[in-house]
């Protein structure tokens, strides 16, 4: 084996080449880690938003979109009394008829952005168990309760949606009555209205959906109910399945994320490879000399792998540091909510694996160019 110091010192032969290789590797790792964090964050928030114990009753034909769904107001009470196995709390059935709406709201500073609005009554807390009031109180008439990430969705400072501040929706001005958390779900980006307020402001006389939280009951029981009461024109879907469908809808975005990151990374990769190629090609004679001394091609290859891994793993370390200080914990808004970019163990592992693969696979073409010529020819090269 060639000494490890040979690999280390080779790195510093040409500092500009070293910078290019480390920078190229770091950029590739950073982009792919960001893509992994993006997709993991989006998948995680979508899969975390639905509970298998919750069933959503939607208007038939609107299974793909809560906003387009229309459910008769009386469906809430009928479902609460007709479906068996609904969870009860303090004598109240965990049933929540809600209005979901997407529309622009305006903050006090004049920022007007699209927001996800949900009209609810207090029973909503029996169904959406992830929701916890952090400060203030549940919204009454003329009030709204905002998710703690709603400010990210609107692109405003957190203080703009603090308790006591106000927002404008249509012609109405509503006061923020409280802030709620719903960790790992899309609900955290929503603005919750008093249901009657939202019905008035949107001029609706129907609900978007009725949520049921089951205890002993199963989805099949709810489905039978929708079939028995076909006059209500309802479709039952498990909440987790609904979000699975949504996740499938967002899959092209995730593919595009990988593709975009992959394409930019490929550019950086080829830049880095070109640098490595030039670095190794200038050493054909030296490596041939080592062979003439008696070092096998395998020993030389391993030394080159060490050298390459040192560069790419340094780039990986830099990418991890940049990721830790720059993207870890960043909230990214998307159409139905907000998710966090996290440097999770899986994301870190992706980065390290990419760094290792770059170090090994990346040097195969230059190593082939360097070690494949016949020894007499290689010894004569300049």
């Amino acid at each position: 084996m060639l000494p490890f110091t040979y690999a280390v010192r080779n790195l510093f032969r040409d500092p500009s080449r070293l910078l290019q290789t480390v920078g190229g590797a770091g950029l590739v790792v950073f982009l792919l880690m960001t893509a992994a964090a993006f997709n993991e964050g989006m998948s995680s928030v979508l899969s975390g938003s639905g509970s298998p114990k919750n069933v959503i009753l939607l208007g038939t034909g609107s299974e793909e979109s809560l906003e387009r769904s229309e459910v008769h107001l009386e469906a809430e009470d009928i479902a609460a009394t007709s479906v068996k196995g609904i969870e009860q709390k303090l004598g109240r059935a965990a049933v929540s008829g809600e209005i979901t709406y997407q529309a622009p709201v305006e903050t006090e500073s004049g920022v007007k952005e699209q927001a996800i609005l949900r009209g609810v009554l207090e029973d909503a807390l029996l169904v959406h168990r992830a929701v916890e009031l952090e400060t203030g109180n549940f919204p009454g008439p003329g009030q709204v309760m905002v998710g703690r990430l709603a400010h990210r969705k609107l692109g405003v400072a957190e203080e703009e949606l603090a308790t006591g501040r106000s927002i404008r929706f249509g012609d109405a001005t509503l006061t923020v009555s409280g802030i709620f958390a719903a960790p790992g779900t899309v609900l955290e980006s929503e603005i919750w209205f008093d249901r009657n307020d939202l019905a008035t402001l949107t001029q609706r006389d129907t609900l978007s959906a009725v949520y049921l939280r089951l205890d002993q009951g199963k989805w099949e029981d709810v489905n039978v109910f929708t079939l028995q009461r076909n006059d209500l024109e309802l479709t039952a879907i498990r909440e987790d399945r609904y979000y699975e469908k949504l996740a499938a809808f967002y899959q092209p975005i995730q593919v595009m994320t990988w593709l975009t990151a992959g394409l930019v990374a490929a550019g950086a990769l080829f830049g880095g490879l070109n640098t490595l190629y030039a670095a190794f090609a200038s050493r054909i004679r030296e490596l041939a000399t080592l062979q003439s001394i008696g070092f096998t091609r395998v020993a030389i290859f391993l030394s080159l792998v060490q050298e390459s891994l040192l560069a790419t793993l340094t780039g990986t370390l830099l990418a991890l540091l940049v990721g830790y200080f720059w993207i870890d914990g960043t909230a990214v808004p998307f159409s139905i909510g907000t998710f966090h970019l996290d440097l999770s163990p899986a994301v870190i592992l992706t980065g390290v694996a990419v760094g290792i693969l770059l170090g090994i696979i990346g040097i195969l073409p230059p190593v082939w160019r360097t070690l494949s010529p016949a020894l007499p020819k290689a010894l004569r090269s300049q």
Partner: protein
């Protein structure tokens, strides 16, 4: 010195394809070199000198014929076996020294010893002896860029002899040196042959360099002429 030649070459030919043409740098060449001889090979460019040197050093393999060095018939060895054989039996001295620029003189000389099972201490002893032999004990920590051409070639010679090979091959070892340095290198090679019993095959264009050898052979178009 035993009766059997140290190097025995019988009807060796070497040819290779260059485009559509077949080039034959060596054709049915036979040669014997006794152990401890300092042999100079002369001839015009393209006469096959370096090809012959590479065959003897196990760097290249002949197309036909047989080639013995010591007890070993090189023509039967595969690439990997040849590499191992070179590690312990050959020291190669190049015209342009071929030192590794990022390593010090000491570390360059140490390279062949890294392929042995010698301890670090034993390696140090050997390297110091080699440096002493080439007169560069005070240059051990210098990198090639900090040495003159003559000194670089001395380091290259120290690297070639440090693992005590029986055979030294030198391809134009004085070709890039001034007269004074060249003479000093030739004296060193002569000493290695006479005092240390090394068999040396040296390719040279320089008649004065050839004079340092015990015998000089001339090659022309792949054949020995005298």
């Amino acid at each position: 010195m035993s009766d059997s030649p140290f190097i025995k070459i019988e009807q060796v030919s070497k040819s290779f394809q260059k485009g559509k043409a077949t080039i034959t740098p060596l054709e049915n060449l036979s040669l014997e070199v006794p152990r401890g001889e300092f042999l100079a090979l002369m001839g015009p460019s393209g006469s096959g000198k370096t090809t012959l040197l590479n065959l003897v050093a196990g760097i290249d393999s002949p197309t036909s014929g047989s080639l013995w060095v010591g007890e070993r018939e090189l023509t039967t060895l595969k690439r990997g076996q040849l590499t191992k054989w070179r590690a312990s039996h050959v020291g190669y001295i190049f015209q342009l020294y071929h030192l590794v620029p990022i390593l010090s003189a000491y570390e360059n000389i140490e390279l062949p010893l890294l392929l042995t099972s010698l301890s670090k201490r034993d390696r140090r002893t050997r390297i110091e002896a080699a440096l002493d032999l080439v007169g560069l004990s005070n240059r051990a920590t210098h990198r090639p860029t900090e040495l003159s051409g003559g000194q670089e070639q001395r380091v290259a010679i120290a690297r070639a002899i440090v693992h005590d090979p029986e055979l030294l091959v030198a391809d134009e070892p004085t070709g890039d040196l001034d007269r004074e340095s060249a003479d000093s290198i030739l004296q060193l090679l002569s000493r290695l042959s006479k005092e240390h019993g090394k068999t040396i095959v040296m390719v040279t264009h320089d008649p004065r360099a050839a004079e340092a050898a015990d015998r000089t052979l001339h090659l022309e178009k792949g054949k020995l002429t005298r």
